[in-house]
């Protein structure tokens, strides 16, 4: 019997030790540093490249070593995923084990306090008054309410939180600035309004009889802020859950649609697998515009969604503004010029006069010029010497040597200094394009956003709001009344010291 009992005790002890280890903050720190270290390795060695690329860079032997250690796919390696899983376990076990302590800490304050209690608190002071204990307590209660309880949450911090939430909500609803401003204004009004209403209704702190004829007033604020770290830990679990959902049920790939065509499938880049879409996407038109410097300004695809043979939605898709339909999202990614489909030139006589526009029918088809002679397009380049699309023109004037030169779509003044009879520039170049789109579906993304918003809000609560308690005990002592005041906070003691000092000064003044 005794050996069995001993064995049980030992196994219980082992379980206890395992639990202690799993919930220890030391494990948290080791895992966080470990995750940082493995991530660093992942940024130093390129990830998920073809084997040949590694062999060329590091040699066969090193590649095999890296590959077997999963360094070439660090963020999906057993080491990385294992540490992440252990971190989540650590966080769960720790949160569960600490819960009874937290529950005790957020339960109402104790009124059964004696004279000796006060000296043990962070902030404490005492003074005498001529009032009776009951009178002193009754007079102190509204002062404590005004100077302590009613200022429960700092208004500035609340306004900041409301602003952040407003910005997020606005950006999620629409990428338009007006929507963001309206959303921020609404959030601020609601949060500040609710807080001011709540403050106006803060009840008086409780006044209860204590020991030895004493009267005790106890007040507290922000007791629920002790739950801040649970909010943060929950949010981390949410983000990881969302990411796992995405990796199981999400899919990502790309398509290239020529103008005028409809496609109802896309390609997964990594596996070169074809994925069927439950609807079709048509590219009506693609356009690209440039700044005068030649930098790209906007890539725009006008897309139509065709579901059951009907056009259900048509909208422009530009970078940063994807199309979303039935959980599938289409992002502007790149484009390709397929050729020319219409072309006109602007011709200005060098002697002066208004420019005229010439429609060009195609390659090697001479068009007469108003001042005599002909012009024809002999070549086209999609991107000549990094200056964009260009045409090679051939100009003939009777009795003069013919001229061959380039004109650029984006550089309208390029021909000005050539010195021919006319100055040529591209009036309109109708290009035939194909648009490259990224296609993705990620059912976990809203879980991730929920987790992210919760995390930032959790930090605001866990880091910047504290649980503060205040006690006042008025007891008869030597014909007078001894008033003892004490305060305690779980965070930001310097801030609380000032608050306590201010309240104490008021109490001393009013309870003389």
């Amino acid at each position: 019997m005794s050996t069995v009992a001993k064995g049980q005790e030992k196994s219980a002890g082992g379980g206890q030790a395992a639990l202690d280890f799993l919930s220890s903050v030391k494990l948290t720190v080791v895992l966080l540093i470990g995750l940082a270290a493995t991530s660093i390795v992942g940024t130093l060695i390129p990830q998920n490249e073809a084997p040949e690329a590694y062999i060329q860079a590091y040699g066969q032997a090193k590649y095999e070593l890296y590959h077997s250690l999963q360094i070439t796919d660090m963020y999906h390696s057993w080491l990385f995923v294992g540490m992440l899983a252990l971190l989540i376990t650590n966080l769960l076990v720790c949160s569960i084990r600490r819960f009874p302590m937290t529950l005790k800490a957020i339960s109402p304050p104790d009124y059964k306090i004696d004279e000796g209690f006060f000296a043990k608190q962070h902030e404490h002071e005492s003074f005498h008054t001529k009032l009776t204990p009951a009178e002193a307590a009754a007079k102190a209660a509204p002062l404590i309410r005004a100077g302590f309880s009613a200022k429960a949450a700092p208004l500035g911090l609340l306004a900041l939180v409301a602003g952040l939430v407003g910005v997020f909500a606005g950006l999620i609803i629409s990428n338009d600035q007006t929507a963001v401003f309206i959303s921020v204004a609404v959030c601020e009004a609601v949060v500040i309004g609710v807080e001011l209403l709540r403050r106006a209704r803060v009840p008086l702190p409780r006044v209860l009889p204590g020991d030895e004829g004493a009267t005790v007033v106890a007040a507290e604020k922000g007791h629920l802020t002790r739950l801040g770290f649970y909010i943060v830990h929950t949010s981390i679990i949410l983000v990881v859950t969302g990411a796992i959902m995405g990796s199981f049920w999400g899919v990502r790939g790309s398509i290239r649609i020529p103008e005028g065509q409809t496609l109802d499938y896309f390609w997964v880049r990594a596996t070169k697998q074809k994925v069927q879409l439950p609807f079709g996407v048509r590219l009506n038109k693609f356009s690209v515009t440039f700044y005068p410097t030649g930098m790209p300004k906007e890539y725009k695809s006008i897309l139509s969604v065709i579901d059951n043979g009907k056009v259900v939605e048509t909208r422009p898709v530009v970078v940063n503004s994807p199309l979303s339909y039935k959980g599938w999202r289409f992002y502007q990614s790149d484009y390709q010029a397929m050729g020319l489909n219409s072309l006109s030139l602007s011709v200005q006589p060098r002697s002066g006069g208004a420019p005229s526009v010439l429609d060009m029918p195609g390659f090697n088809r001479p068009v007469p010029l108003s001042g005599g002679g002909t012009v024809q397009v002999v070549d086209f380049q999609e991107d000549l010497v990094d200056m964009g699309p260009a045409l090679r023109l051939h100009v003939e004037h009777p009795g003069q040597p013919s001229a061959d030169f380039w004109v650029f779509d984006r550089l309208r003044d390029f021909d000005r200094d050539r010195g021919g009879n006319e100055i040529f520039s591209v009036q309109n170049m109708g290009m035939q394009y194909a648009s490259g789109l990224e296609v993705s579906r990620d059912p976990g993304v809203w879980v991730v956003w929920g987790g992210c918003i919760l995390m930032v809000m959790g930090f605001l609560v866990a880091f910047f709001m504290s649980h503060r308690r205040l006690w006042l005990r008025a007891a008869p002592k030597g014909g007078k009344t001894l008033v003892q005041v004490a305060g305690r906070t779980n965070k930001n003691r310097p801030g609380f010291e000032n608050e306590f000092a201010a309240l104490l000064a008021t109490l001393k003044e009013e309870l003389k």
Binding site: V25, K26, T28, V29, L32, I33, L35, A36, S39, I40, G42, T43, Q47, Y75, L164, V167, F168, L171, N175, Q177, V180, A243, R252, Y291, T293, M295, P296, K297, E298, Y299, V318, V319, N320, S321, P322, R329, Y331, Q332, S333, E438, V439, S440, D442, V445, V448, W449, C452, I453, M455, V456, F459, L460, F463, F464, N492, R493, P494
Partner: protein
């Protein structure tokens, strides 16, 4: 106009750093301290006006966007956020000696921007044309600035000998009683922790807004791009500092060392990734 004003700010910040040093070295004279704070505030006001002017100027050029789009503008903004956070801390703690260890960060950022980066206002390429740009850059750089201040405070902690604090003879007109050269270690330890909490919250918001932006621009909120990964590495390191405080014997000196190390990770996220590692955020390409 804006670049000339920003060039002047470089020197103002240099002088205010020197003045804070004189203030500390010459017996914490109140008058000297007030001049140092006044000069810093003047520099900050000029800095703010210059950023606004640059913003306005971009609209006049027809390519209007917030001045947060390249290395020059981000360095200027980093200098601005660092000075902002420093002034807030000085206002709250009344400890001017901190200026000696923080204002050099603002000066170096501004000087580096003025002398080695092009200050031309450039139009935004399509990928940067997003409202998330503003939210992402503001949160990240306020966070970086808080971490810069935390590392300055950590250096102040670490240069104090383990035993008796550094003292000087109290000069006439001195502000700080007891002739302390630097704030008490317990005060510094608390301040380091507070600034790291501020920085960590902002860094988290910065990573989240960056992920949201990536989601709208590329269809994936996380793609292990080196910049993303390094911001996560920085996040892991600061998270470990926040937890290390709950471990026995890990307050004070060790946390101060960790905070300096972690700021190294911030700097690598900011510069190292941009110049040494390839990726979406690379200014080098």
């Amino acid at each position: 106009m804006n670049t000339r004003m920003l060039g002047a700010v470089v020197f103002i910040y240099l002088f205010s750093a020197v003045l804070y040093l004189c203030y500390m070295a010459f017996g914490q004279n109140r008058r000297l301290g007030q001049i140092a704070t006044g000069l810093t505030a003047l520099g900050f006001a000029t800095h703010t006006v210059a950023i606004i002017l640059r913003w306005v100027e971009s609209y006049e050029m027809g390519i209007g966007h917030a001045p947060l789009s390249n290395m020059y503008e981000s360095l200027v903004f980093f200098g601005w956020t660092t000075t902002l956070i420093y002034l807030l801390i000085e206002w709250r703690t009344k400890q001017r000696a901190i200026g000696v260890f923080v204002m050099p960060f603002a000066f170096v950022a501004m000087a580096y921007a003025s002398w080695s980066e092009s200050s031309d206002i450039m139009p935004l390429v399509p990928a940067l044309q997003s409202n998330w740009l503003l939210a992402h850059v503001i949160t990240c750089f306020l966070g970086y600035a808080a971490f810069a201040v935390a590392s300055g405070l950590s250096v102040m902690y670490l240069i104090q000998p383990a035993g008796e604090p550094a003292r000087f003879k109290t000069a006439p007109g001195a502000e700080v009683a007891g002739g302390r050269l630097l704030p008490e270690k317990a005060v510094l330890d608390n301040l380091i922790y507070q600034t790291i909490m501020v920085g960590f919250t902002l860094l988290t918001a910065g990573i989240v807004t960056g992920a949201a932006w990536a989601h709208y621009a590329w269809g994936s909120y996380w793609s292990w791009d080196p910049k993303e990964t390094w911001s996560l590495i920085t996040w892991f390191i600061y998270a470990s500092i926040l937890h290390a405080r709950y471990m026995h014997g890990w307050r004070g000196r060790r946390v101060a060392w960790l905070s300096v190390l972690a700021f190294g990770s911030v700097l690598f996220t900011y510069f190292g990734v941009a110049y040494l590692l390839p990726g979406l955020h690379s200014y080098a390409s």
